[in-house]
Amino acid sequence: MRRPLLLWLLLAALALAAFAMALISGSVALTPGAVLRALFGGEQAEIVLRLRLPRALAAFGVGGALALAGALMQALLRNALAEPYLLGASGGAAIGALLAMLAGAALAWINLGAAAGAAAVMGLLMLMARRDFGDDIAPGGAVRLLLSGVALAAISGALVALLLAVAPEAQLRGMLFWLLGDLAGVDDSRAVWLALLAAFLIAYPRARALNVLARGDALAQSLGVNVRALRLTAFGAASIVTAAAVATAGTVGFVGLVAPHLVRLAVGNDQRVLLPACVMAGGILLLLADTVARTVVAPLQLPTGAVMSLVGAPLFLALLWRDARG
């Protein structure tokens, strides 16, 4: 039952490699040596410490946060489709952020608007499904919650379209990039890292209970799991990370879906292994996607979220069909 140490070491090594790649690549290509010197205040310190490292940290943090949210929601709803993007959290965040942009608010307020929008949708979802969170889940309760999220996402999508339609020309480009998920200009990722740490510390001690819950409510209850409290806590933790992630990077899809699936295929579904591995895998995936986004057609920068989906979706499809044939 225990070999995750090797896995975690492997993921940590991959993460380091992804960071190295992110710091080396860019409009000014640096040698690994130059990056190392810059990290300790060498001549390229400006580029590495002020531009690339903060953005890389943000990408990794956001990716890890969304992957953790996806893994938690999948365990909670016992459905491999669940993720923050699909459940409408990103849509809610978009409404909040666009409204703040329309009002001409400063960046901090836009981020706050996004976080509030995401939290509002998750709260609404929790309110609607409060009965289904109970000890004795109604038949189809998890599916109902998932479908409610999809409906909320549709409503948010429609509202976002309306906001875009009435927005002044000058703001459209900024809004569009926000919607596509953009890490350009993100220099402060403390919020997302803090949220990630908090959510992980909340979720990880409950990982084995989540394993039990994945086998059904009746079994979980008879093994002493407080099903209702566990659902609320895990959903709350997922909401915190989602809100922080979308506030930092806008709507980045797919990493919350792909990372847990990738990890599950590799290591199975023991949440004690899966949750930390998901954080690492999500971080690595988004960091790689972001590095591609800002270097592939440099000096032009592509929106990170679009690159993530462009790379993530085919990867997901490949996994899905390999699985189906297997």
Binding site: M1, A75, R208, A209, N211, R215, A218, Q221, S222, G224
Partner: protein, 260 residues
């Protein structure tokens, strides 16, 4: 009953929707007893088992575990005393057989602890006991219904409660496994536990159970030693179908009458 009862119901009333399935049911069971729960489809076997396990709150009355009402028990402490095997297992995600059986250790482990070598060894022994030796690495999603049911049984054995409630543990088993599972349940009772299981095969129940609970689905639950409870008259009443008894060398066999 010499020992104090492990499990007891007092004035229990249970309903599903507007149908009252159990009315004013009082009963007690102690160590060494294997109770089979018999009744027609929809008579309330599952509802009764779930209420006895504390998974649903009765409309009226209470269930006592070791003399203490269910609501006074901490979830964790209760999980060490009573186990429940549902009719169907839900595997949201794929997992190995050994891993799934080890889920039963959950209440025995500290929040941060992982299953120990001793737990894994116990899991292997238990899997062998339910006839799943060599299945440890198999994926639960590749198992047949009967095999999956026996994994659930292994999970229960690893939970190791004194009060075992099982909802149709033999429903997907072939004849040999039905007999094996029934023998195992009888052995569990012999280890100082009380076993309460919904069964459909009356003859299997007659061979292995020590006591029977008969649900007529209209509120009445009759309880007693198996030999007294199993009669053509009682069975005809609860199944609403004429039943015959055939005695052969002192053993009674029960059959539904078929129009010939």
């Amino acid at each position: 009953m010499a020992d104090s009862p492990l499990i007891e119901a007092r004035g229990l009333m249970l309903a599903v929707g507007t149908r009252r399935l159990v009315a004013d049911f009082s009963w007690r069971a102690g160590a060494g007893e294997f109770w089979c729960v018999l009744g027609a489809n929809g008579a309330g076997k599952t509802t009764l088992l779930r209420a006895l396990a504390g998974l649903l709150v009765p409309m009226r009355g209470e269930v006592l575990i070791k003399g203490r009402p269910l609501e006074e028990w901490q979830r964790h402490a209760l999980a060490l005393e009573r186990g429940f095997v549902a009719q169907h297992a839900h595997d949201a995600f794929d997992a190995g057989v050994l891993e799934t059986a080890l889920i039963g250790r959950h209440p025995h482990l500290d929040p941060w602890a992982w299953e120990s070598k001793a737990d894994v060894a116990a899991a292997r022994a238990v899997l062998a006991r339910v006839g799943l030796q060599g299945y440890e690495a198999r994926s639960v999603k590749t198992l047949s219904g009967g095999e999956r049911q026996r994994v659930s049984l292994a999970t229960l054995l690893l939970q190791d409660p004194r009060i075992c409630l099982l909802d149709e543990p033999t429903s997907h088993q072939d004849v040999a496994q039905q007999a094996a599972v029934s023998t195992l349940l009888r052995a569990l009772a012999g280890e100082g536990r009380v076993v309460i299981a919904a069964l459909h095969d009356i003859n299997l129940a007659a061979r292995h159970a020590t006591h029977a609970l008969l649900l007529d689905g209209a509120g009445t639950v009759s309880a007693g030693p198996i030999a007294q409870m199993l009669s053509a008259e009682n069975l005809s009443r609860i199944y609403r179908h004429p039943m015959r008894v055939v005695s052969e060398q002192g053993t009674d066999w029960f059959f539904p009458q078929t129009p010939s």
